[in-house]
């Protein structure tokens, strides 16, 4: 186990540098935007990674809440399976908006269920809480990257730094929600923090679709999603994008893993200290 971490770290570093080389040198220059477009290879993979991490946070928080009671645990499992099955059936029965692939919707449904049961199998009750904390922290970092690179690109291309567009606004709100999540964890006393934080994570996740729809009626300025959406992309660019995403994902996974181990150690230390002071108190009495 101790050897795995450095090996993964070296692999990630190699992958990241290869991704950088591809993005700056190999990828073809975009016709109208020029070299500015290359920021896309950092912006989009960060966004996908951040959203994935926030979804993990939501699933882990749900897990933490339902596991406190066996009945709700079983109920949640049934609900998750039902959602996965309904999305699969729905993807092929309901007429989807133009540009949305049936298989993409079905895969998302199955992916959510797989992630949920993966977390359920591999993490203890305390493990899900640590996972939620870690994914929120790393997710906020990646979301910050998205919010910084976005305006850098928008200024030369759109001529403005910021606009209240649907994707920009929902990303900003998402970032605010998870920032308040981290604040809550910082301000709260240790014993009750996990429950409160998990409850807030559920609220935040419920809020995201509402934010999305509330800005939906304003016309969107953001480029259409290139994958599973209406836009099209040069296959060479897509290749670079996916390599970069892989690099970012493994980087995020690596950071999460080391942060996870750190948090586990910290909790062990705190527990040992608490036990120590208890023993001291008994000894002096």
């Amino acid at each position: 186990m101790k050897r795995v971490f450095p090996i993964l770290a070296i692999l990630t570093a190699l992958l990241l540098s290869y991704g950088l080389y591809l993005a700056l040198v190999v990828a073809p220059t975009e016709q109208t935007m020029g070299d500015v477009q290359r920021i896309f290879y950092y912006h989009v993979p960060s966004a996908w990674t951040a959203f994935l991490l926030f979804s993990l946070n939501f699933l882990a928080s749900i897990q933490y809440l339902v596991r406190r009671n066996p009945f709700s645990d079983r109920l949640a499992s049934v609900v998750v399976i039902a959602i996965a099955v309904l999305t699969c059936i729905g993807a092929y029965v309901v007429t989807l908006p133009e540009g949305v692939e049936k298989s993409a919707v079905a895969t998302t449904g199955i992916g959510i269920a797989l992630l949920y049961f993966g977390i359920r199998k591999f993490f203890s009750e305390q493990g899900t809480d640590i996972l939620a904390l870690v994914t929120a922290e790393v997710g906020v970092v990646f979301c910050t990257v998205v919010l910084v690179t976005g305006p850098l690109w928008a200024r030369p291309v759109w001529g403005i730094w910021w606009t209240w567009d649907i994707r920009l606004t929902s990303t900003l709100v998402l970032w605010l929600i998870y920032l308040s999540y981290l604040m809550l964890r910082r301000f709260s006393d240790s014993g009750q923090t996990p429950v409160l934080a998990a409850a807030l994570a559920v609220f935040g996740a419920l809020d995201v679709p509402l934010v999305y729809f509330s800005i939906w009626i304003f016309r969107t300025q953001h480029p259409q999603p290139v994958i599973g959406g209406g836009g099209s992309i040069d296959p060479r660019m897509l290749h670079v994008l996916l390599i970069n995403w892989l690099a970012f994902l493994s980087f995020a996974g690596l950071v999460c893993w080391s942060r996870y181990r750190l948090e586990v150690l910290q909790r062990e230390v705190e527990e040992a200290q608490a036990l120590d002071s208890l023993a001291d108190a008994r000894g002096t009495r």
Partner: protein, 224 residues
């Protein structure tokens, strides 16, 4: 069900009686909202056309911050003499307490809104160009949206080191509701676009978060 509703009713009555005798919350809220109205009117001095455009935002900012006063007081009252602890060990359903607190806050903020609206009309020379009756459902749904999540987060902030974190949690989550309230109010005042979409969105927000609060409140109240 009858147990839930009777406990809710008794708690609401108790809160109203307390408020009627002390008028702590209402006075603080009124003073705060009055300050906002006067300061903004004084510094912008808008004509009727301008104020139509900005009033939606102004009114709801004033009500939001005034509501925070009520929300902070909600649970502080129950901490004296360990009333909340007594409640937690009693067999009464937790949701009855939550509903009572939310309804109480809803009533206090509604009273505030009823008192403040004439002042807003006078200071900002407001006259709705759209269907004015729509402001009533907007006010009711919007107030509930603020109050239901606010009551929940106030209960959460009881267990943190700083009570002020309540506003920090409430604001990002309430963004869709705030957007809907402000845009609906502006739409009615200006009378150019329909407010229907925003009212439906507010209704959805209310339903979703009321259910979420009722599901999670017991867990949060008993969090140890």
């Amino acid at each position: 069900m009858s147990l839930l509703s009777s406990i809710t009713l008794v708690t609401v009555q108790k809160d109203i009686r307390l408020e009627w005798r002390s008028k702590d919350v209402l006075n603080a809220m009124l003073f705060f909202a009055l300050l906002v109205v006067v300061v903004f009117s004084f510094s912008f001095d808008p004509d009727a056309e301008e104020s139509r455009q900005i009033a939606g935002g102004l009114v709801w900012v004033a009500f939001l911050f005034a509501a925070v006063v009520a929300l902070n007081q909600t649970w502080a009252r129950e901490l004296r003499n360990q009333v909340l602890d007594a409640y937690r060990i009693s067999p009464a359903p937790a949701n009855a307490l939550f509903l009572a607190k939310a309804v109480g806050n809803f009533l206090f903020v509604s009273v505030l809104e009823a008192l403040m609206t004439p002042l807003f009309i006078v200071f900002y020379k407001l006259r709705a160009l759209g269907p004015g009756w729509q402001l009533i459902p907007i006010a009711l749904l919007g107030t509930w949206a603020l109050v239901v999540n606010g009551t929940f987060f106030a209960a959460m902030s009881l267990r943190t080191r700083s009570r002020e974190i309540m506003l920090l949690l409430l604001f990002p989550i309430s963004i869709p509701a705030l957007l809907a309230m402000v845009n609906a109010t502006t739409a009615v005042l200006v009378g150019e676009a329909s407010a229907k979409f925003w009212i439906v969105l507010l209704g959805t927000y209310d339903v979703v978060f009321t259910i979420a609060c009722l599901f999670l409140f017991e867990t949060v109240l008993h969090a140890e």
